[in-house]
C-alpha cells in the first residue's frame, strides 16, 4: 500500500470512484446522471479522497442522503398515494 499523501495513495482513493463515474457516464445519458444513485455515491467518495474538515463532511453526507431520499420519494410517492386512494 502506498504511503499517505503520495500519488499512489491518491490514485488508490480516487480509482474506484473514477472508474464508477466513467462506467455510469458511458451507459447512461447525461440527463440521467444527476438522478443515478451510483453516480451520486461515486461523486461522494471521490470528494472523500480529499482531506476536508469534519463539518464539511457532515454537510456533504447530509446533502447526499437528502438527495438520495428525495430521488427515492419522488419516484415512490405517486404509487403510495394511488394505493391509499389519493391521486398524486
Amino acid at each position: 500500500m502506498s504511503p499517505p499523501g503520495t500519488v499512489g495513495d491518491l490514485l488508490r482513493k480516487l480509482g474506484p470512484s473514477v472508474i464508477l463515474l466513467g462506467w455510469r457516464a458511458t451507459v447512461l445519458p447525461a440527463t440521467q446522471l444527476p438522478g443515478d444513485w451510483v453516480t451520486i455515491l461515486a461523486a461522494y467518495f471521490l470528494l472523500r479522497a480529499f482531506a476536508l474538515p469534519r463539518q464539511t463532511w457532515t454537510f456533504l453526507t447530509v446533502a447526499t442522503v437528502t438527495l438520495l431520499l428525495g430521488i427515492y420519494l419522488f419516484g415512490q410517492i405517486p404509487y403510495t398515494l394511488a394505493i391509499l386512494g389519493r391521486s398524486p
Binding site: 453526507t61 442522503v65 430521488i71 427515492y72 404509487y79 403510495t80
Partner: protein, 562 residues
C-alpha cells in the same frame, strides 16, 4: 370459540415455556442473541409438533390443546417461568419502545382485518392447510396447483394459528412471528457489530419496516420468513453460536422454501471467515445436538416426503415445465444485477408483497444504508466479513433466480445489513437523523396497504363480521353449498372456497371428459362446480356440459347441475 381460545392460549403457553426451558440449557453468553434463539426454538417446537400431529392424524384443537394445557401445568409446577427475563424499557429507550408498540398495534389490526388474498397463497400455500385442518392430519390431497408439493415449513406455523379456533382470522400471525424474529436477529447482529443496545433495537425496527418485509408479514407468503431465518443464521454465526445451534435456522429455512439454498453460500462464507473465533461453549451439549437434529428432520421432512411419494425430493422441478430456473446461470446474475442497480432499487412501482418490478428495500436502505455500509466497511474488518457474506448470498440469489418481475422477494434478507449500517451512519453523522425519520414514517404509511388490497377492498373486508371475513367475493366465488367441486388447470383461488372457518368441503376434480366430470360430481355428492382459469381442453369439457344442458352457469366462475 371460548374452548378454542383456551386451547390456543394453552398451546402457545406450552410452546413459549418449552422454548424457554430449552433456551435455559443452551443460552449463549452473548445475551442479545438469546431472544432470537428463543424464537427459533419456539418455531421449531411448533413445526415439529404440527408434523408429528399431522402424520399421526392428531392435528386437532382438542389433542394439541389438551397436550398444551398438561405441559403448561407441568411447567408451572416446575416454576420454569421464574427464570423468564423481564423486559426493561430503559434498555431500549422510550421512543423505540413507543414505535415498537405502534407497529405492534398496527400489525394486530392488520391480522384482524386482512384476509388471505394473494394468488399464490390462495392457489397452493393455503389449500393444503385447509385440507389438513378439515381432515385433522396430513392428506394426499394438496390441490391442483403444480406448486402444491413444494416444501411447506411456513404453512406449519399458519396451521398452528388456525387450528385451535378452526378459523383463519389469526392466520397472519404466522408471518408476524417471523417478523419479530427478523427484528431480534438484526438487533443481535447490530450489537455484535458494536452498536449499543438502543441503536441495535433501532436497526431491528428499521429492518422490519423494510417495505417488502413488512408487506410479506401479513400476506401469508413465505419469502419474509425465509429472510428472517437467513438473518438469524447470519446472527448466530456472527455471535459464535455452536454449530448444531446454527443448523436449526438453516434447516428450518430450507423447509420453508428451497430458495433459501440460494443464500447458503454467503452463510457458509461467514462460517468460514469466523472459523478462527472461539465458538460458544454450551454446558448441555446433548440439547444443542438434539435441537440441530430436530431442525434437520423438520426441514428435510418435505424433501423426504416428495422422495417417498414421487421419487424426486424437489418434485415437480425437473419433471414439469415450471417457470422456475433450477440451475445457476451467469446471464441471470448479470441481468438481475443490472436490473437491481438500474431499476429495482428505486422502488418505482406500487408496494406489494410480490414486489413486482421493485426491490422493496425502502428509502432508508436506498438513501442511508448503502452509503453507511460503504463507509463502515472501510474501517471495520468485522463489518467487511459480514458484508462479503451478505453480498455472496445476494449473488447466489441473482445467479439462481429467473429474471422475472418477482425475484427480488428472495433478497429480503439483504436490507438487514443496510438497516444496521443506516443506524451506524446516524451515529457517525447525527444530522442525518431527520432523513431517516422521514423515510421511516413514509415506509410506515406506505406499507399499510399492499397494491393488491386497495382501500375499497379493505373496507369491504372490514365491513364483514370476523366470522365470515373472506376475500372470496373478490374472486367471484360466492357459494352457499356445504360442499363444492373445484375444476382448474393450475392456478386459482381454491382456498376461498373452504370458507374462513373451513366449513365447506372442496372436491378437486381432475376429470378428463364431460361425462367423467358429471359422474365424479355425482359420486362426490356435489351439485355446484367452481372453475378457475382453464386450459383449452378443460374449457372444452365445461363447454360440452353447458351445451348439453347438464350444467348451468350461475356466475362467471360458478356452475350448477341442472
Amino acid at each position: 370459540v371460548i374452548l378454542g381460545l383456551f386451547f390456543l392460549l394453552a398451546a402457545n403457553g406450552a410452546s413459549i415455556l418449552g422454548a424457554h426451558c430449552i433456551l435455559l440449557r443452551i443460552r449463549m453468553s452473548d445475551a442479545s442473541v438469546n431472544f432470537a434463539l428463543f424464537l427459533v426454538i419456539r418455531l421449531l417446537l411448533i413445526s415439529a409438533t404440527v408434523i408429528a400431529a399431522g402424520l399421526t392424524h392428531c392435528l386437532t384443537a382438542l389433542a394439541l390443546g389438551i397436550l398444551g394445557a398438561v405441559l403448561v401445568l407441568g411447567f408451572l409446577l416446575k416454576k420454569t417461568y421464574v427464570h423468564i427475563p423481564k423486559p426493561r424499557l430503559s434498555s431500549i429507550g422510550w421512543v423505540a419502545g413507543a414505535v415498537a408498540l405502534v407497529i405492534c398495534i398496527r400489525l394486530l389490526l392488520e391480522v384482524w382485518f386482512f384476509a388471505p388474498h394473494t394468488t399464490d397463497v390462495l392457489s397452493y400455500h393455503l389449500p393444503k392447510v385447509a385440507e389438513w385442518v378439515r381432515f385433522g392430519g396430513f392428506t394426499r390431497e394438496l390441490g391442483v396447483d403444480d406448486h402444491a408439493t413444494f416444501p411447506a415449513g411456513f404453512e406449519l406455523i399458519e396451521t398452528w394459528w388456525v387450528l385451535f379456533l378452526h378459523h383463519d382470522v389469526l392466520i397472519e400471525m404466522a408471518g408476524v412471528e417471523f417478523l419479530i424474529l427478523a427484528l431480534a436477529a438484526t438487533s443481535a447482529l447490530a450489537k455484535r457489530l458494536g452498536l449499543s443496545q438502543r441503536s441495535a433495537i433501532w436497526a431491528g425496527l428499521i429492518y422490519i419496516m423494510t417495505p417488502g418485509l413488512m408487506l410479506q408479514a401479513t400476506s401469508c407468503l413465505n419469502d419474509g420468513p425465509v429472510a428472517a431465518l437467513a438473518v438469524t443464521s447470519f446472527a448466530l454465526i456472527a455471535c459464535s453460536a455452536s454449530w448444531p445451534v446454527v443448523v436449526m435456522p438453516l434447516a428450518l429455512g430450507l423447509g420453508v422454501k428451497p430458495t433459501f439454498s440460494y443464500l447458503v453460500p454467503g452463510i457458509l462464507l461467514l462460517a468460514l471467515l469466523s472459523r478462527g473465533e472461539p465458538r460458544d461453549t454450551i454446558p448441555r451439549r446433548m440439547t444443542s445436538y438434539a435441537l440441530g437434529a430436530a431442525g434437520l428432520l423438520t426441514g428435510a421432512f418435505w424433501y423426504l416426503r416428495n422422495l417417498a411419494l414421487f421419487g424426486n425430493p424437489v418434485y415437480p422441478i425437473g419433471e414439469r415445465d415450471l417457470p422456475i430456473q433450477s440451475e445457476p446461470r451467469l446471464s441471470s446474475l448479470l441481468g438481475n444485477l443490472g436490473s437491481l442497480i438500474n431499476v429495482r432499487l428505486y422502488d418505482r412501482g406500487p408496494y406489494g408483497a410480490y414486489l413486482d418490478g421493485i426491490a422493496g428495500w425502502g428509502g432508508i436502505s436506498f438513501a442511508c444504508g448503502i452509503l453507511g455500509l460503504l463507509l463502515w466497511t472501510g474501517e471495520n474488518a468485522k463489518v467487511r466479513k459480514l458484508a462479503a457474506a451478505f453480498l455472496l448470498s445476494l449473488a447466489g440469489v441473482l445467479l439462481m433466480a429467473r429474471g422475472d418481475d418477482w425475484y427480488m422477494r428472495f433478497c429480503l434478507f439483504f436490507p438487514a445489513i443496510l438497516a444496521i449500517a443506516a443506524v451506524r451512519l446516524v451515529e457517525l453523522f447525527p444530522p442525518v437523523l431527520p432523513c431517516v425519520a422521514i423515510a421511516f414514517l413514509f415506509q410506515f404509511v406506505g406499507t399499510m396497504l399492499p397494491y393488491d388490497l386497495p382501500l375499497k377492498n379493505l373496507e369491504r373486508l372490514a365491513g364483514q363480521s370476523w366470522v365470515r371475513r373472506s376475500s372470496s367475493e373478490f374472486f367471484g366465488f360466492d357459494v352457499k353449498d356445504p360442499a363444492v367441486g373445484y375444476f382448474a388447470s393450475n392456478r386459482g383461488s381454491a382456498y376461498c372456497l373452504y370458507g374462513p372457518d373451513f366449513s365447506r368441503r372442496v372436491v378437486y376434480l381432475r376429470s378428463g371428459s364431460a361425462e367423467a366430470l358429471l359422474e365424479d360430481m355425482k359420486r362426490a355428492g356435489i351439485t355446484t362446480l367452481c372453475i378457475a382459469p382453464l386450459a383449452d381442453h378443460e374449457m372444452k369439457i365445461i363447454e360440452d356440459c353447458l351445451r348439453t344442458g347438464k350444467l348451468r352457469r350461475a356466475s362467471d366462475h360458478v356452475l350448477v347441475v341442472e
